[in-house]
Symmetry: C2
């Protein structure tokens, strides 16, 4: 298997990208094609032992920066994303991964490899970290104002990805709403509900925010605006929570120190607090984007995954592992077959598109 | 000051409502009018010492149940919400509080006391619990599909409430979006952004989900769909964290117990874990709806607050305290004056309403 890696994507590119790609080539036995400024990539490669690994470099003279507007993909014709995606399009690789500007990767993928026929809008999906059982959250911000038909396609693609990424037979699909009853919801949700009910998906109904961490659904469908708020609020709350626990544990220790000194035997209680640290570390690790791998861009006509911009080498390695799994799971072929098998409703049969 | 309390509202009514109202009458020196089935209320009142307190009972023969459809407000004409709100409308009380079905309270308030002239849609606001500094979140689910003009009014009303409830001079207002840049957002947010910029509010711009717990804004404006997801996801995540920490602390103790027994002195480390419990309790308390009081229905022409349906007596007491503060702060007059002072844009000047 050959994976194209955008060596210039992410906050710490190309250093950590090259390092993570070397680790992935060694650990997973795949071929890696690094795309970007050749001299920079070769300099980074020289820092690692690559004997026995199949790592090639394809030069691309330009870089889409993290804060560039999406239009930079077209303005900078020789950018590493577009060059890498061309290799994918031409069949010279099996999958593409970038930790770059996600809007730009999306634009470059639409331009470079196109949509799967029958899919109106690709969507970004990710494993939602703070759930008791892992779940796929889709969409994450690419489509802020999807139509009900778009949402049904997101649900279908998310469900197929849950089969591949989570190994589930009949993933349970739910739509995010402001109440569990079918008559609750925004106009968009209320129009989507009956379409999901009439689909061949294992549709459970609506779930509220409080149910998202409970693991009641395997695929959580929502518009990209709400999905982005859900994912980022979860990150923010976890960070808030960990800081809070740390601060209160520390102040608790200081408050109790007088007491502890009065009863010398109790000085030994302090190590007890250290018991807690590993469990906090486990929580942090569990919800850490570095452990979550990359998010697939579902609906484009090639295996394209996007990693977190803040990725370090370990995160890049994990993102490449997700990319290999998506390619091995034949995510593109699976979506293509599913679209062809499912009779697509003509637009006239659908409720009016929501703004 | 006279507060009307819906004695029949909430999961544990009328018992805990009467108990909390008696505590509030004693602690805050206000008059309480309990509305509902007189015999039931009198039976509950008899369980408490009410000497010296001014607590009256007004009979209402019907009850809007927690799971009733909103239309029950009209079907059950003699329900405790409508009877209580009539007292408010007639000037026989200063404020109204219910822990009942929030959709029904909203409907009964619109029907019974009406909107403040110039306000198109009332909104439900609440103190957002999981922020480093308290913030007002508006709207919480009453308006799932507001127009940009509605959102500007929510921001205005939320800002006035932040002055009263949080004692701030110039509350910082932000709108929830999927990115910080003005060009990011749903169509609704992008249409609202320039209106907020041109308002006389202290508008900071957009905030992402991850910033919500950081206390970067005092008033967080969003549509009721997203607001509901934010509030309930926060509740769900906090519950998830607390369970996680509890489970890992417990398993950590079990894992370490062998080690502890080997070095008898270290048995004393176990009490160290107990140090943590108070800090977890503090967090739980901080985000507990019982500590947050009631949420004001902003934009109706009377002081109307809604408490959590699961409220216990202590929560009812706290909800009455919030109700007193809202009345003392003249929230209705303040909103009325602000609407009259602010030149209202004609609908023609606004972008088209979003679906």
């Amino acid at each position: 298997m050959k994976i194209v890696v955008d060596a210039m994507g992410g906050d710490h590119a190309p250093g950590v990208v090259v390092e993570g790609a070397v680790q992935a080539a060694r650990d997973f036995g795949v071929e890696i094609i690094l795309v970007g400024r050749e001299a920079d990539i070769r300099r980074e490669l020289a820092k690692h032992t690559t004997t026995g690994l199949i790592i090639s470099v394809v030069h691309a003279g330009e870089v889409v920066e993290m804060d560039d507007h999406v239009s930079a993909v077209r303005a900078k014709k020789d950018n590493s994303m577009s060059v890498g995606l061309r290799l994918l399009k031409e069949g010279k690789a099996d999958a593409f991964m970038s930790a770059g500007n996600s809007g730009a990767v999306m634009a470059a993928a639409l331009f470079g490899v196109g949509r799967i026929r029958g899919i109106d809008r690709p969507a970004l999906a990710s494993i939602y970290p703070a759930s008791q059982t892992p779940a796929i959250l889709v969409d994450l911000g690419v489509n802020t104002d999807p139509t009900p038909q778009n949402l049904v396609q997101f649900a279908m693609m998310g469900s197929l990805y849950a089969k591949i990424a989570l190994g589930l037979d009949q993933p349970r699909v739910a739509i995010v709403s402001n109440g569990e009853e079918p008559e609750k919801g925004s106009e968009r949700v209320k129009a989507t509900y009956p379409l999901l009910q009439n689909s061949n998906l294992n549709f459970l109904g609506s779930i509220e925010g409080k149910d998202i961490p409970k693991g009641v659904a395997d695929v959580i469908v929502t518009d990209g605006f709400t999905g982005n708020v859900i994912l980022k609020l979860s990150e923010g709350l976890i960070s808030f929570f960990l800081k809070y626990i740390k601060a209160t544990v520390t102040s608790g220790v200081l408050n109790k120190i007088g007491l502890v000194l009065m009863i010398p035997g109790l000085i030994l209680t302090l190590p007890g607090l250290l018991f807690l640290l590993p469990s906090i570390q486990r929580l942090r690790k569990r919800v850490d984007y570095r452990e979550l791998g990359a998010a697939p861009l579902l609906g484009v006509d090639g295996v394209v995954l996007i990693a977190h911009g803040r990725s370090d080498a370990e995160a890049i390695r994990g993102a490449i592992r997700s990319t290999i799994r998506a390619a091995e799971g034949h995510i593109v072929e699976t979506i293509r077959d599913s679209v062809n098998e499912t009779p697509q409703p003509a637009s006239g049969e659908l409720p009016a598109a929501q703004a």
